[in-house]
């Protein structure tokens, strides 16, 4: 069988690994627009800060592809799919045949409607190249200028990640967020307030409930930004971090069903039987609601790819569903959130504890005696237990009163659960 994977990040690798676990014979080909082996997208912030080089953030090195007998077409772009002939067309004109295809093309930067985006010093922040370009630019500029001002448009995970890297470079950072709070998909209002407090203490300026309408400058060069409120900001560089959206380019001219992302069933299969999709490009069933959604985080992408891999070689394994989980470094303070961050209605129970002095915050959301969401700032040691309780839909009725305790752990849960997990997994 000839298996082709478009995209060489978490989902593509997850699929290749699952396939090779069970099938040493099928031909696997990975096509990637980027010219290098898989690397860690979350750690491009350390490329931006200069803390790490490419080798430090490699996810699977060249030997991996060799050892697993995977053909690589790196630096080649897949431009179209002929679903009837089962052929992929590359930018260089070559055709690649497939029996089974995985689309894991990831996400692309949302370009917000801002005037003047054709200037030189405007960068997205999704790939290694983006991070390297920003780093090189700032390093060069730091030689001639005393201080560089960088405006980050968007205060979500990507924008915050950029701010973390930029702060280490010693430039002035200003985050512009459309919503009233930064990191609003990861934290609730309380969590965001704490995150904002920490960021501000590190010298990051944050403007919320406002957005950029134009990038101003002199000729090709960025000089500043005008905001919707009328406010003007001086800056030398702009990072576009208004979010990512599934990269659906390859689906054009196919009959693939798409919404925000490529729609798949619980086997990660699209509406075309030989074509599967996984990762940030995919709209798969959610683990909590059961409805299809895009959950663009690394482990979710790997897991989708991994389950897709099994199903592509006809080993039927239903995907357990998308589960959100993020771990964010708040300038040295650890934080983790998972599942829902706010209760959708009054039938949800909320347990919470906020301490602004210690910067500790805990919040647990329970629905019908099951954990459906949580936020932990500063103390994250036991966060994984909550992920397990959520993933496995464990009834927490008997130990609910202990969930917020500092030393919460399996000793507080039901003996039956503890025995099952730790004494006899059979």
């Amino acid at each position: 069988m000839e298996i082709v994977i478009i995209g060489n990040s978490a989902a593509g690798i997850g699929a290749a690994e699952a396939i090779r676990k069970n099938d040493k014979l099928s031909k696997i080909t990975i096509i990637s627009e980027e010219a290098y082996p898989a690397y860690s997208k979350p750690f491009i912030k350390d490329i931006l800060s200069g803390k790490a080089d490419f080798n430090r953030i490699i996810y699977r090195n060249e030997q991996f592809y060799e050892k697993k007998n995977i053909n690589t077409l790196f630096g080649e772009k897949a431009v179209s799919i002929n679903q009837n002939k089962r052929i992929i067309r590359l930018r260089n004109g070559k055709n690649i045949k497939y029996d089974k295809l995985l689309i894991s093309t990831g996400g692309k930067t949302i370009i917000p409607p801002i005037k003047g985006l054709n200037k030189k010093q405007i960068f997205p922040f999704i790939t290694y190249n983006d991070a390297k370009n920003i780093y090189n630019f700032i390093k060069k500029d730091l030689k001639t200028k005393k201080k560089i001002n960088v405006a980050v448009i968007g205060g979500g995970l990507i924008g915050f990640g950029a701010a973390l890297g930029l702060e280490k470079l010693g430039v002035n950072v200003i985050i512009i967020e459309l919503l009233p709070y930064i990191l609003s998909r990861i934290f609730d209002k309380d969590g965001s307030e704490i995150a904002q407090k920490i960021a501000k203490s590190k010298g990051i300026k944050i403007i919320t409930s406002d957005s950029a309408v134009s990038v101003n400058g002199k000729g090709n060069n960025v000089r500043g930004i005008t905001l919707k409120s009328g406010k003007k900001i001086q800056c030398d560089l702009v990072i576009l971090a208004a979010g990512v959206t599934p990269n659906l380019e390859i689906c054009e001219k196919t009959k693939l069903k798409t919404n925000r992302g490529i729609i798949v069933d619980k086997y990660l299969k699209t509406n075309i039987p030989e074509i599967f999709a996984a990762g940030d490009v995919t709209e798969a069933p959610d683990g909590l609601s059961g409805e299809n959604n895009v959950v663009a985080i690394w482990p979710n992408a790997y897991r989708q790819g991994y389950f897709a891999g099994f199903n592509m070689i006809n080993i039927k394994r239903p995907f357990p569903g998308n589960f959100v989980m993020n771990s964010i470094d708040l300038f040295g303070i650890s934080s983790i959130s998972g599942g829902l961050i706010d209760a959708p209605d009054k039938y949800y129970e909320i347990l919470s504890d906020r301490n602004d002095e210690t910067l500790n915050y805990k919040k647990i959301i329970i629905h019908k005696n099951k954990i459906v969401g949580y936020i932990f700032i500063n103390e994250i040691d036991k966060a994984g237990i909550f992920y397990g309780l959520m993933l496995n839909k464990v009834n927490v009725k008997n130990f609910k009163q202990h969930l917020l305790k500092n030393d919460f752990g399996f000793v507080y849960t039901d003996k039956k659960l503890r025995k099952k997990l730790f004494e006899n997994p059979a």
Binding site: P42, F43, S327, D329, D381, Y387, L389, L391, A426
Partner: protein
Amino acid sequence: MKLVYPKEEVCITCRLCEIGCIVEHSKTKDILKAFLVEYPRPVSRILIEENGGLSFAQNCRHCEEPLCIEACSNNALWKDEETGIVYLDEKQCMSCWMCIGLCPYSAVTQRIDEKNEIRNAVKCDLCPEKEIPVCVEICPNSALFFENRGVKNWR
């Protein structure tokens, strides 16, 4: 594969397993130096949970399909295909703590030593240099067993 299994009924919270683990994973393997001299101080990979009279020691389950490996975007975690042991390369780890967020057993621990700029995750490696993991060997109460009861995932 063989794993470390606790028996909570006979655990007396002496924490010798933690001490043994710290010494075994120290540079000097000397209890005094490990606790008083070595920087960064080694961290135990087995943890006692305690509530009232109940306690038990928990460590990595070396899952069939480990969630910690799914979580790691930096290739610091991998499963040895022959032995089944899940290893964490502490030097490769870049401390994003995603493994901590995903491990449903809470078997990965943060090691933070600001003074020495050390931040990395640590976890049980089943003491590959020893026949029996040190925690099992040192337990005075037979509250830890090193046996093959089958490896699974909790999901």
